[in-house]
């Protein structure tokens, strides 16, 4: 799949670890593959031009629901809203439409207990918590670790951490690496998703390098955005990260997951992401274990399309529960 050049570069980068040593990191950064901006944007745009109809569309939409991290990250979140979200994630719509439950609910650390209490201990829906000073990441490591441990002990199955983008763009890659590794350790059995906040990394080269850094430091998933900075997830930036995951897999045999988050609002967009996923990483990644959508308003649009497929009439938001 990957051109041989990319493969060797990724292998070379791998050979330069173990980290951290600032000299080694600098050399690794030099050796990291660069991204052709024009081509990655062209290729990403091409995935949105597939015609997906009928049974394939319905299967795709159901898969999208099963991959969704239903998210609420607002200052005004309450246990009541989280309970409502858990209910919607477990049973998105009337069972006659045969729609699977969502993969997880994603909440602030203070809401983890409420989510766990509502879902119980044997729910198929996971509880994901943002952590480490979300959304900025500009907090001391000690409080980041404390926050992570508390979220896990409150019942979080998954931790969505943010990296310190300031440190990354200042070239302190070692610091970013160490923080991710420390948070991974604090997670214990919980899965770790590392949010790169790609809009603040400015260039595709930085996104590619940060993806690799996060995977080396122990990320189970890499995630585009917090949703608090625009632009959030875009097709090109997700493609860059998917290619980083592919090259990392070729170099190490380790499958890392991907989570685009923020700005994916329509069923059509979400299908384009699934197409991109399949054509970049293949069928192995078409599972909620390795791909998630971080979204709040996407679910209703997908449900409206599923009902449209079943009943033939275009649907209205008036007939669906609030996001």
């Amino acid at each position: 799949m990957a051109p041989d050049g990319n493969l060797t570069l990724a292998m070379r980068a791998k050979a330069m670890f173990p980290l951290p040593s600032s000299a080694r990191l600098a050399a690794w950064r030099e050796a990291a593959p660069t991204v052709d901006q024009i081509m990655v944007e062209e290729r990403a745009a091409s995935f949105a031009k597939r015609s997906i109809k009928g049974a394939a569309k319905l299967a795709g939409l159901q898969m999208v629901v099963s991959m969704m991290d239903l998210t609420t990250l607002e200052g005004k979140d309450t246990p009541g809203k989280v309970a409502y979200l858990c209910h919607k994630a477990a049973q998105p719509i009337d069972p006659r439409y045969d729609v699977p439950s969502c993969a997880a609910v994603c909440v602030y650390p203070n809401m983890v207990r409420a989510a766990r209490r509502f879902l119980g201990t044997d729910s198929r829906v996971h509880v994901a918590s943002v952590a480490t000073g979300f959304p900025s990441g500009q907090f001391p490591l000690r409080t980041k670790l404390e926050e992570t441990r508390r979220a896990v002990s409150d019942g979080a199955d998954e931790i969505d951490m943010v990296i310190d983008r300031g440190a990354f763009v200042a070239g302190e890659h070692g610091k970013v690496f160490d923080e991710i590794a420390a948070v991974k350790e604090a997670c214990g059995d919980a899965h770790l998703k590392v949010i790169l906040e790609t809009a603040e990394l400015v260039t595709y080269d930085n996104v590619r390098a940060a993806s690799h850094l996060a995977m080396e430091a122990g990320a189970d998933f890499i995630k585009t955005s917090t949703g608090k900075v625009q632009p959030a997830a875009t097709m090109p930036v997700t493609l860059v990260m998917l290619e980083a995951i592919r090259d990392y897999f070729f170099a190490t045999g380790v499958r890392v997951g991907m989570k685009p988050a923020g700005g994916i609002r329509t069923a059509k967009q979400s299908l384009a992401y699934v197409v991109m996923l399949k054509e970049t990483l293949g069928d192995d990644w078409l599972t909620p274990d390795l791909f998630r959508f971080g979204a709040s308003s996407l679910l209703n649009d997908v449900l409206m399309q599923i009902v449209k497929c079943a009943e033939g009439a275009y649907q209205s938001a008036d007939y669906f529960s609030l996001s």
């Binding site: 009439a313 275009y314 649907q315 008036d318 007939y319």
Partner: protein, 290 residues
Amino acid sequence: MNHNRLSVRKTHKLYVGGAFVRSESGRALPARSAAGVHLDNYCRASRKDLRDAVVAARAALPGWSAKSAYLKGQILYRAAEMLESRASAMAEEISRYGGDAAAARAEVAAAIDRLVYFAGWTDKYAQVFGSVNPVASPHFNFTVPEPTGVVVIIAPDAPALAAPVALLASVILSGNTAVIISSETAPLPLLALAEVLATSDLPGGVVNMLSGSRPELVPHAAMHKDVNAIIDASGQAAIQACAEEGAAVNLKRCSRRALSSADWFGEAAENPYWVLDTVEFKTAWHPMGI
């Protein structure tokens, strides 16, 4: 001047969300005069264009319905002014289908007059159709009309300009947004009207225009759950039956405008009661003495 130059034939676009767009399907049809002369090309809308138009109309609804009655009237009046300044071009658009020039000019004049007429109703219909109700308790009780939402209008084949203008103005004056399906035999005058509305301060999405085949579009419009009302002026029994049957899906309101071609030029087309087909009445009880 070189008299052998090739003529530049316009492809009239659909008007959706304030933009002039080609059909999502990529289809275009030749517009032909009564004598079969190829006039121009126009886009043939698909059901997905209809879906996009309804999305645009829904998105425009909160902004348009919240504008003051006075401003809505100003904007409709502005549309009349713009149409007046392009009267000769619009008359040409109508007459090249084959009618006579004087009749075309009369139709444009009628369209302008309808806009002015309905512009006047924007700040009057609520007083005329609303009421303060006598009740046997210490309450101030009043009933006010509110826009119903997104309205799909099925225009008749003729007159191609005067009829759609009267239909559109009577629907949007109360704050509704509209998707109109054009005449099948003469779609160009309505599509040319889009160029007038686009320069009339009418926000994008308040009026959306689709040209194409009624049997292709009407079933989807009628069953669309995000459409709140349908106005059928097609005069075709099959289209009316299709609209009414589809409307039953979510009990949307379905009204007819059964006017003859000549009626659209007379008093019958200045009917304020049309407003009632696309408003809902809300009654409020306000305690007195507080």
